[in-house]
């Protein structure tokens, strides 16, 4: 519908303001409006409500199908803004709460400051000629042997590098996925509490620090 016709139907301009072809269309609209008014359809036809309700009750589809429709079809949801904000805040708190430690007495913040400024790449090397695979696991990997070492030339010397944050770290090597061994050439060790020793790395943040020098 063009703009002048719209303005005419809104009562903003007169019929005489329209071009002849638009005037014919406007008269047709006027006739339609008059017919509807004369029909007197101000109230719903008798029985319309009962017919609609009957058609709703006639929905005998399987409950699974109706359940599926409930999940996939849009719904109008009315939420009080305050409740909505509170819910969003609760969800955000749950998502951003640090995992692994939900103690209310847990100190927070300073631990991050200790280890977050800089990361250092450390190369782990192990001579294990009979191994089929070697990995390193430590407190930096939740003790998962997540970093496999490689021996591309097959000389039995396995190596790989790991990105570590400054601090004191403990680790062991895992050979063939099952045998946990202490780094025989580590600079320092500490008991692991299970009768073995973990190797210990002390890493400082400063560039060029000889933290691994014996």
């Amino acid at each position: 519908m063009n703009e002048p016709l719209n303005r005419y139907l809104d009562g903003e301009i007169e019929l005489s303001d329209l071009a002849p072809e638009q005037r014919r269309e406007a008269e047709a609209w006027d006739a339609l409006v008059t017919d509807v008014r004369q029909a007197g359809a101000d109230e719903a036809p008798v029985g319309l409500e009962s017919r609609i309700m009957a058609s709703l009750h006639a929905d005998r589809r399987p409950s699974a199908s109706r359940l599926l429709d409930w999940w996939v079809n849009p719904h109008l949801v009315r939420v009080r803004p305050l409740i909505g904000l509170a819910t969003a805040a609760a969800v955000a708190a749950l998502l951003f709460l640090p995992s692994g430690d939900r103690s209310p007495v847990e100190p927070t913040g300073a631990a991050t400051a200790l280890v977050s400024e800089e990361a250092v790449y450390v190369q782990f090397v192990l001579e294990a000629p009979d191994a089929s695979s070697v990995a390193v696991a430590g407190d930096f990997s939740d003790w998962l042997p997540a970093t496999p070492l490689a021996d591309p030339d097959g000389d039995g010397v396995w190596s790989g590098r790991v990105r570590l944050t400054p601090g004191v770290h403990k680790y062991m090597f895992v050979i063939d996925g099952t045998d946990w061994i202490t780094d025989p050439q580590a600079e320092r060790y500490t008991e692991d509490g299970f009768g073995n020793r973990n190797a210990v790395l002390a890493i400082t943040g400063g560039a060029g620090a000889g933290s691994l020098a014996p």
Partner: protein, 234 residues
């Protein structure tokens, strides 16, 4: 139909994400997967009791996960976690509940290795950020044969003079070097401490031609690599 499939796909994604979050929330999941429920319950009791005393749960969970990952029996893991909980309780009493978990863990380790609690507390108060490195240095000095009082005094001197932690960490290497040159650990420590107090470099110049290594023997151990920008991808 297409809209319905897209909605189902989104719901499935949400389900996967929710499951992942739930697993993440269970910090003992890996222990639970290996140990009988009764043993996990005992662990949870130890953790709860320690938490009530201010011990960070994360340190005890990490020890339990380490034991489970290494394939130890539940009784061994429970014993190790219980021992660590007792050590950490004492450390929390010494340093306070606000001490970050890495600091508490290192302090407990240092006390176990003979560092005096008073020195641990003094270093923690003096350098809350880097005191784990300072404690590690004392342990390294003890391991190099330096007497406890001398080792503690050396690190306290270095700390009070504002020496950077990465430089403090090299002190044991200097001791070992002086010992290799024929000094006793006591002489080496005394010499270094004298230099520290006089504001002189702690590392004396190496004799000409001395074949000292500065890293672990080739082929084993660990190396600190140059900054990441200069490293090709692994």
């Amino acid at each position: 139909m297409r809209r319905r499939l897209a909605t189902l796909f989104a719901a499935a994604l949400f389900g996967v994400a929710a499951t992942g979050w739930a697993q993440q929330a269970d910090d003992l999941a890996r222990v639970r997967a290996r140990f009988p429920a009764a043993d996990v319950d005992r662990l949870e009791t130890i953790l709860s009791d320690a938490q009530a005393d201010g011990v960070p749960r994360v340190l005890l969970v990490e020890k339990a996960v380490e034991g489970a990952a290494k394939g130890h029996e539940p009784a061994v893991v429970i014993g190790a976690v219980s021992t660590l909980a007792d050590e950490l309780r004492a450390t929390v009493r010494l340093l306070g509940r606000d001490t970050p978990p890495p600091g508490l863990e290192k302090a407990a380790d240092a006390i176990r290795h003979g560092v005096e609690p008073g020195v641990v507390r003094e270093l923690a108060e003096r350098d809350p950020r880097d005191f784990p490195i300072l404690l590690q240095t004392i342990e390294d000095l003890l391991h190099a044969g330096v007497a406890r009082d001398e080792a503690q005094g050396m690190v306290l001197d270095a700390s009070s003079r504002g020496m950077r932690s990465q430089d403090v960490l090299t002190l044991p290497a200097t001791v070992r070097r002086l010992v290799r040159e024929g000094n006793s650990p006591v002489e080496a420590a005394t010499s270094i401490r004298r230099n520290l107090r006089a504001g002189r470099p702690t590392i004396p110049p190496a004799p000409p031609g001395a074949p000292y290594r500065t890293v672990s023997p080739a082929g084993t151990g660990t190396r600190r690599l140059p900054p990441p920008g200069r490293i090709p991808p692994a």
